[in-house]
C-alpha cells in the first residue's frame, strides 16, 4: 500500500514537472509570434532569442532538475531531454526561416563588406563602450545555421544514451554560446561567448567521457584558455589603440572607445583605400600574431593541435559531434572575422607562414592518420588535416580560396559530426574503437557499415558530396597563387583516401564472408543502429548529398562574402603591395 502511494506521489510530481515544462514552452512559443507581430517588418532583434532562449532554457532545466529529491533526478532525464530537443528544434526553425526567407526577404548575396543583416545594437556596459551588437553576413550565417542544425541532430543521434539529467541542458548552453560567438559584432561580447563555450564542453568531456576523460578535459580547457587570453590581450591592445572620441565620452563611455568590429573594420578599410597600413606595420603584425594564436589553437593547426585527439577520443559522442562540427569552426570563423579583415597587410606579410602551417597540418594530419589504430583518433587527426585545407584557402589570398575555406568549414561541419556519430555507434554496439578488431561490419550491422562507409567517402572528398566542392575550390585557388605547389595538397588527398579505404577494408569488409567480432563478444550482441541513430545519420547523409549536388544553395552567400571582402578590403592592399614593390 505504502509503496503504491509513494509511486503515486512520484508520478504526480513527475507529471507536474512535465506539465510545467509543456506550459512554459507553450507560453514561450505563443509569446514569440506576438513579439514578432509587434515588430513586424523589423527582425533585427531575431538573434537575441536565438542566443538567449537556449541559455535560459538550459538554466531553467538545470535548476528544475537539480532541486528534485534523490531518486527523482533520474526520472527527470526524459522530460529534460524532450524539452531540450524541443528548444533546439525551435531555434532551428528560426534560423531556417532566416535562411529560406520565410521571415520576409533577406538578401544574403548582395552584402558589401562590413554590411550586415539583422544589424542590431543595444548598450550593455556603457562605461567601457561595450554593447550587445549583433549582425549576420555571408560568413557568419552559414555557421549559425550549422550550429542550429548540428545540436538537434546530435540530440537525436544520442537519444538512447542514458546520460542523466544534465547532459542535454549543457548542449543547449553550448548552442546559445556558439550562436553568441557567430552573431557577435562586438569584440567583448565575442570573447565572452568564445570562452563560455568552454564550460559546457569541459563538463561534457568530464562527465560522460572515456577512461582518461579527466586528463583530456583539463588539457582541452587549459590549451584553449591559454591561447584565448593571449588573444584577449590583443583585443585590449587594439581597443586602446583607437583614438578616443569626444562623442562617446559625452555619452558616458569612460574610455571614449568601443569594441565595435564595424568601426574597426571601417578604419582598416579606409586605411587600405588610402594605400596606408592601419596602425602601422609592426603593430599590425604583432596584433595579427596575437589574435591568430588564439584562433590557430582552436582550429587546431599543427603545432598547437595536441589537445584535439585527446579531447575527441575521450569525449562522448555528443561532445565529439559538437566539438568537431561547430567548435573547431569558431577558430576559422574568428580568423576571417578579425585578423584577416582588420590586418590584411599582416596577412600578406605572413602568407607563407600560413601556407606552411596549412601544408604541415594537412600532410602531418593525414600521415598520422595512417598510423592510428583507434578509430576516433584517426577521425580526429583527419579533422586536423581538413582544417589545414581551410588555412590553405586563406593563404591563397584569392576570393575563390576564401569562399572554398568557408565552404570547407560548413562541409566539415556536417561531415565530421557524422564521422563521430558512426564512431560513437560503433563503440556503443561493439564496445571497441580498435580498427581491425571487428571485421565484416557490413554483414553484421549493415546500416552502421553503410553510414560509416558513406561518411568516410564524404570525408575523403568523393565528388557529388559536400567535401569535394570545398577541396576542389581550395586546390584551384592554391594553384592560382602558388602554381605547382598545389601538387602537395593534391597528393595528400590521396593519402586521405588511402587511410580511409584501408580502415574500411579492415573494418567494414574483409573477413571472407565471416563476421569477426571483438574478443568476448557474443554473435547475438552484434546489433545494428537503433531507429534514433538511423534518423540522425540519415539527416546528416542527406545534407551532405544536398550540399554536394547543389552547393550553390549556400555557396552563393559565401562567395559573395569572399568577393566583397577581397575586392573592397584587400584589393586596395594588393595595389599597395604591388605599387610599393
Amino acid at each position: 500500500m505504502s509503496e503504491n502511494s509513494s509511486k503515486k506521489a512520484i508520478f504526480e510530481r513527475e507529471f507536474s514537472i512535465v506539465a510545467t515544462l509543456v506550459v512554459g514552452a507553450g507560453a514561450l512559443l505563443l509569446s514569440f509570434p506576438l513579439f514578432f507581430e509587434e515588430a513586424v517588418g523589423e527582425i533585427d532583434w531575431i538573434t537575441i532569442p536565438m542566443v538567449a532562449f537556449p541559455i535560459l532554457a538550459s538554466i531553467i532545466l538545470l535548476a528544475l532538475a537539480s532541486q528534485q529529491p534523490r531518486g527523482m533526478k533520474e526520472n527527470m532525464a526524459f522530460p529534460v531531454k524532450a524539452a531540450s530537443l524541443g528548444f533546439s528544434l525551435f531555434i532551428l526553425a528560426i534560423s531556417s526561416a532566416l535562411f529560406f526567407g520565410w521571415l520576409g526577404s533577406i538578401d544574403w548575396t548582395t552584402l558589401k563588406i562590413n554590411e550586415y543583416n539583422m544589424n542590431h545594437e543595444y548598450t550593455w556596459i556603457n562605461s567601457l563602450g561595450i554593447s550587445w551588437h549583433v549582425g549576420l553576413d555571408g560568413l557568419s550565417f552559414p555557421m549559425l545555421w550549422l550550429t542550429t542544425l548540428i545540436i538537434p541532430i546530435t540530440m537525436i543521434t544520442t537519444w538512447e544514451e542514458n546520460s542523466g539529467w544534465y547532459h542535454h541542458p549543457l548542449l543547449l548552453l553550448m548552442e546559445g554560446a556558439l550562436i553568441g560567438v557567430f552573431v557577435a559584432l562586438d569584440l567583448f561580447m565575442f570573447y565572452v561567448f568564445w570562452e563560455l563555450t568552454l564550460i559546457p564542453m569541459f563538463f561534457l568531456i568530464l562527465k560522460w567521457g572515456g577512461k582518461d576523460r579527466r586528463y583530456a578535459a583539463q588539457k582541452f580547457f587549459l590549451y584553449t584558455f591559454t591561447a584565448s587570453v593571449i588573444m584577449l590581450l590583443g583585443i585590449v591592445t587594439l581597443y586602446f589603440l583607437q583614438d578616443p572620441s569626444q562623442y562617446l565620452i559625452d555619452r558616458g563611455v569612460l574610455t571614449g572607445r568601443t569594441f565595435s568590429m564595424i568601426d574597426m573594420t571601417n578604419n582598416a578599410q579606409m586605411a587600405a583605400n588610402d594605400g596606408s597600413v592601419w596602425l602601422g606595420e609592426s603593430m599590425q603584425n604583432a596584433l595579427f600574431l596575437m589574435l591568430m594564436l588564439g584562433f590557430l589553437v582552436k582550429l587546431p593547426a599543427v603545432p598547437f593541435h595536441t589537445w584535439l585527439p585527446d579531447a575527441h577520443v575521450q569525449a562522448p559522442t555528443s561532445g565529439s559531434m559538437v566539438l568537431a562540427g561547430v567548435m573547431l569552426k569558431m577558430g576559422a570563423y574568428g580568423m576571417f572575422r578579425l585578423p584577416l579583415t582588420l590586418f590584411p597587410h599582416a596577412l600578406a606579410e605572413y602568407q607563407y607562414l600560413l601556407l606552411a602551417i596549412g601544408m604541415i597540418s594537412l600532410v602531418y594530419g593525414s600521415i598520422v592518420c595512417l598510423g592510428q589504430t583507434n578509430l576516433k583518433r584517426m577521425v580526429a587527426y583527419s579533422s586536423v588535416s581538413h582544417m589545414g585545407i581551410v588555412i590553405l584557402g586563406i593563404a591563397s589570398m584569392q576570393p575563390l580560396g576564401f569562399a572554398g575555406a568557408i565552404f570547407m568549414m560548413f562541409a566539415h561541419g556536417i561531415i565530421s559530426p557524422m564521422l563521430f556519430s558512426v564512431c560513437g555507434s560503433f563503440k556503443h554496439h561493439y564496445h571497441t574503437l580498435e580498427i581491425g578488431s571487428t571485421r565484416g561490419l557490413a554483414k553484421a550491422s549493415p546500416f552502421l557499415g553503410g553510414y560509416m562507409m558513406f561518411s568516410w567517402m564524404a570525408s575523403l572528398g568523393l565528388p557529388l558530396l559536400a567535401g569535394f566542392v570545398a577541396e576542389i575550390t581550395v586546390l584551384v585557388a592554391v594553384w592560382m597563387t602558388f602554381g605547382w605547389w598545389v601538387l602537395l595538397p593534391a597528393l595528400v588527398l590521396v593519402i586521405t583516401a588511402g587511410y580511409y579505404l584501408w580502415s574500411m577494408q579492415r573494418t567494414i569488409f574483409e573477413g571472407s564472408g565471416d563476421v569477426v567480432l571483438p574478443e568476448g563478444m557474443a554473435a547475438e550482441d552484434a546489433r545494428d543502429l537503433s531507429p534514433w541513430e538511423n534518423i540522425g545519420n540519415l539527416l546528416m547523409a542527406l545534407l551532405i548529398v544536398l550540399f554536394g549536388v547543389l552547393p550553390w544553395i549556400i555557396w552563393d552567400m559565401m562567395s559573395a562574402y569572399a568577393n566583397a571582402h577581397f575586392y573592397f578590403n584587400m584589393g586596395g592592399l594588393l595595389n599597395l603591395v604591388a605599387g610599393g614593390a
Partner: protein, 594 residues
C-alpha cells in the same frame, strides 16, 4: 579647492559634536561604535536587582544576574553584529549617493593644523566593501553555532557559546571600524592607527579557535610577522615625518577666520626626494606589502588562512587585503608619484615584485592539497595582479600621454572594482569551505570530492567562484581582470591612437614595457586555471569519501550568504556598469586634490 573653517582651533571631539554635518558624515562609524557597545551591554542583561541601602526595596538593575532567555541566546551577538553592519552599509551607501565630501580637521595648540579624515566617494566605496565582507562573514557564523536554542536551565555550554560569540563579534566590528578609519584617513599616522586597530582584532580572530593547534599556530605566526611588518612600516613613517615635517597625504588650503591656512602635504613630495625619503618609502612598502600578502612578505599568510575559520580567512583575503591596497595606493599614487617627466622611482622595483608575487602565488597554489592554502596562495597571486596594475601607473609620465590623470584614474577604478567583486567570489569560495567545515573539515582537497552529487547547487556555486577567480567570462572575475589589464594597456598605449590617426608612426615597440606586465598577468591566469579547474574536477568527478556521503548540513544562513555571493559574481560580471561608474567616481575623488 578651498573650504571654509568656521572656528580655527577646536579639539576634534568638540568639532564632531558641534557640527551636525560632521556628525552625519561619520554616521557609519558611529553606528559601528554603537554596535560594539550594544554587543558589550546586551548579552549581559539579566534579572539582577539592586537593593537600596538601608531599605528592603529592590529595584531592577538588569546588569548581570540570571540572564534573560533572549540575551543569553548564542545567536544574539551575531544578530546584533549583522544589524550593525547592515545599517552601517546602508548609511555609507546613502552618503555615497549624496556625494558629499567632508574633511574632519584637527588643530592642536600650535598653529599647525592637520586633516585627519576625509569622507569622500573613495572612502565610502571601501567602507561598503569592508562592511559587506564582514557582514557576509557574520552571517556565515550564525550557522556555525549549535542550531538548538539553550534550554530553560542554562547549561554551561550555552553560556560559553554566547560569551565566545560576543567576543568574536566585538572583534569583528572592531576590525571593521579600523578598516573604515583606514579608508577615511588623510594622515599617514591616522592610517596606521586604523590599520593597527583592524590588524590586532584580526590577529585574535585568526587564532580564535584556540582549541585547535592549527588555529593557535597560524594566529601566532601571523601576529609575529604582522607586528614586525607594522613596526617597520611605522619606522618608515617616522623617517618620512623627519624628512617632511608632517604626515599629511595631500595638501589643503582652507580659509579660516584668521586667514588662509595652507597645509603642505606629502603629495608629489618625491619630486625632490633624497635617500631618507626613499628608505622611508621602502619601509612603508614592507608594512603594506604584508597586508596585501605580496611576496616576499606573504609567508605567514597560508598558515593564517588555513588556521583561521573559513569566514575569517575570507575576510583576510578580501577586506584585509583591500585595506592594504588603500595604503599602497595612497603611498604610491599620491605621495611618491613625481610630477615631472620621468617615471616613478619604484617602477622597476614594483614591476619585479608584482611579477614575482603572481608567479610565486600561482606556482605554490599548484602544489597545495589543502583548499584553504590553495586559496591563500591564489590570494597572493591576485595581489600580484593588482600590483601589476598599480605599477603601470608609475609609467604614466613617460613620453607623451595627454591625460595621465585619466590613465591613473582608470587603474584605480580597476583595482577598486577588483577588490569589490573579490568579496563576492573569494569570500564565497571560503564560505563554501565553511559549509564543509560544518560537515567535518575542509583541509584536504578530498573533502570537496563528490560535492556535485551531495549538493549540486553548492558545487555549482563553488565552480562559479573558481571560474571567476580564474577569470572566465561572463563572471565578475573576468570583468575585473579585464579591467586591470585594460588599465595596464591603457598606460602602455598612451596616446598611440591619436598619434596614429594624426599620421605619426607608432610601432609595436613604441609601447611602454609595462605592456608586458599585462602579458604576465594573462600567462599567470592561464597557470592558475589549472588548480581552479582541479577543484571543479574533484567536485564533479571524484566519488565522495566513504564517511562523507550524506547531504550537507542545512545551514540556511550560510547558504544564503553563498547564494548571494554566487549571484553577485554573476551579476557584476554581466551588469557591472553601475559599479564601474561608482568606482570611477570614487577614483576621481581619490585624485581630487584639495
Amino acid at each position: 579647492m578651498t573650504s571654509h573653517v568656521d572656528e580655527g582651533s577646536q579639539a576634534v571631539w568638540q568639532q564632531l559634536f558641534s557640527d551636525s554635518q560632521t556628525l552625519s558624515a561619520l554616521m557609519p562609524e558611529f553606528v559601528m561604535l554603537m554596535g560594539i557597545i550594544a554587543l558589550i551591554v546586551v548579552p549581559n542583561l539579566g534579572k539582577a536587582m539592586i537593593r537600596l541601602p538601608l531599605t528592603k526595596i529592590r529595584i531592577p538593575w538588569f546588569f548581570g544576574g540570571q540572564r534573560f532567555k533572549t540575551t543569553s541566546d548564542p545567536r544574539i551577538p551575531a544578530i546584533i553584529s549583522i544589524a550593525t553592519l547592515l545599517i552601517a552599509t546602508i548609511l555609507a551607501l546613502a552618503s555615497l549617493m549624496g556625494n558629499a565630501t567632508r574633511w574632519i580637521l584637527y588643530s592642536g595648540e600650535s598653529t599647525e593644523m592637520i586633516v585627519l579624515l576625509k569622507v569622500d566617494g573613495f572612502a565610502r566605496v571601501f567602507e561598503i566593501l569592508f562592511f559587506g565582507a564582514l557582514m557576509l562573514a557574520a552571517v556565515a557564523t550564525v550557522s556555525r553555532m549549535p542550531a538548538s536554542k539553550p534550554s530553560k536551565n542554562l547549561s554551561v555550554k550555552a553560556l560559553i557559546n554566547n560569551r565566545r560569540q560576543v567576543d568574536f563579534h566585538i572583534l569583528l566590528l572592531m576590525s571593521g571600524l579600523g578598516m573604515a578609519i583606514v579608508a577615511l584617513a588623510q594622515d599617514l599616522f591616522m592610517l596606521f592607527l586604523g590599520l593597527e586597530l583592524a590588524s590586532l582584532a584580526i590577529y585574535v580572530l585568526v587564532a580564535f579557535h584556540k582549541e585547535s593547534k592549527a588555529g593557535t599556530e597560524g594566529g601566532v605566526k601571523y601576529f609575529i610577522v604582522g607586528a614586525t611588518a607594522s613596526a617597520i612600516g611605522l619606522y618608515g613613517m617616522s623617517l618620512l615625518y623627519i624628512w617632511h615635517g608632517n604626515l599629511q597625504i595631500s595638501s589643503h588650503v582652507f580659509s579660516a577666520d584668521s586667514g588662509v591656512i595652507v597645509i603642505q602635504g606629502l603629495d608629489r613630495a618625491f619630486e625632490n626626494a633624497d635617500s631618507l625619503a626613499y628608505i622611508a618609502l621602502g619601509m612603508m612598502l614592507v608594512g603594506f606589502g604584508f597586508k596585501v600578502s605580496a611576496v616576499p612578505f606573504h609567508f605567514a599568510a597560508p598558515d593564517a588562512y588555513s588556521g583561521a575559520s573559513s569566514p575569517i580567512a575570507g575576510v583576510l583575503a578580501t577586506a584585509s587585503k583591500a585595506m592594504g591596497f588603500i595604503g599602497l595606493m595612497r603611498v604610491l599614487l599620491l605621495i611618491s608619484l613625481p610630477e615631472g617627466d620621468g617615471s616613478a622611482a619604484w617602477l622597476i622595483c614594483l614591476a619585479t615584485l608584482s611579477v614575482i608575487t603572481m608567479t610565486w602565488g600561482n606556482l605554490a597554489a599548484l602544489g597545495s592539497d589543502n583548499p584553504k592554502r590553495m586559496l591563500a596562495y591564489s590570494s597572493v597571486a591576485h595581489a600580484g595582479y593588482m600590483m601589476a596594475a598599480l605599477t603601470a601607473v608609475g609609467a604614466w609620465r613617460w613620453g607623451h600621454i595627454s591625460a595621465p590623470e585619466e590613465a591613473a584614474t582608470w587603474v584605480v577604478t580597476a583595482i577598486m572594482f577588483h577588490l569589490v567583486v573579490l568579496v563576492t567570489f573569494k569570500l564565497g569560495a571560503f564560505l563554501v569551505l565553511a559549509l564543509l567545515e560544518l560537515d567535518g573539515g575542509a583541509s584536504r582537497s578530498g573533502s570537496l570530492s563528490g560535492l556535485a552529487r551531495r549538493d549540486p547547487v553548492i558545487a555549482a556555486s563553488m565552480f562559479i567562484f573558481m571560474m571567476a577567480l580564474a577569470g572566465v567570462p561572463p563572471l565578475a572575475g573576468f570583468m575585473s581582470k579585464f579591467m586591470l589589464i585594460a588599465g595596464i594597456v591603457n598606460v602602455a598605449a598612451g596616446d598611440a591612437g591619436s598619434l596614429m590617426s594624426s599620421g605619426g608612426i607608432t610601432a609595436f615597440w613604441d609601447l611602454h614595457w609595462v605592456w608586458w606586465l599585462a602579458l604576465a598577468v594573462f600567462i599567470n591566469s592561464a597557470i592558475s586555471l589549472f588548480y581552479y579547474l582541479r577543484i571543479g574536477v574533484i567536485m564533479f568527478f571524484e566519488e565522495a569519501e566513504s564517511d562523507r556521503r550524506k547531504p550537507l548540513p542545512r545551514a540556511w544562513f550560510l547558504r544564503l550568504a553563498i547564494w548571494s555571493c554566487a549571484l553577485g559574481t554573476f551579476a557584476f560580471g554581466v551588469a557591472g556598469d553601475h559599479l564601474i561608474i561608482l568606482c570611477n567616481n570614487a577614483a576621481e575623488s581619490f585624485f581630487a586634490l584639495s
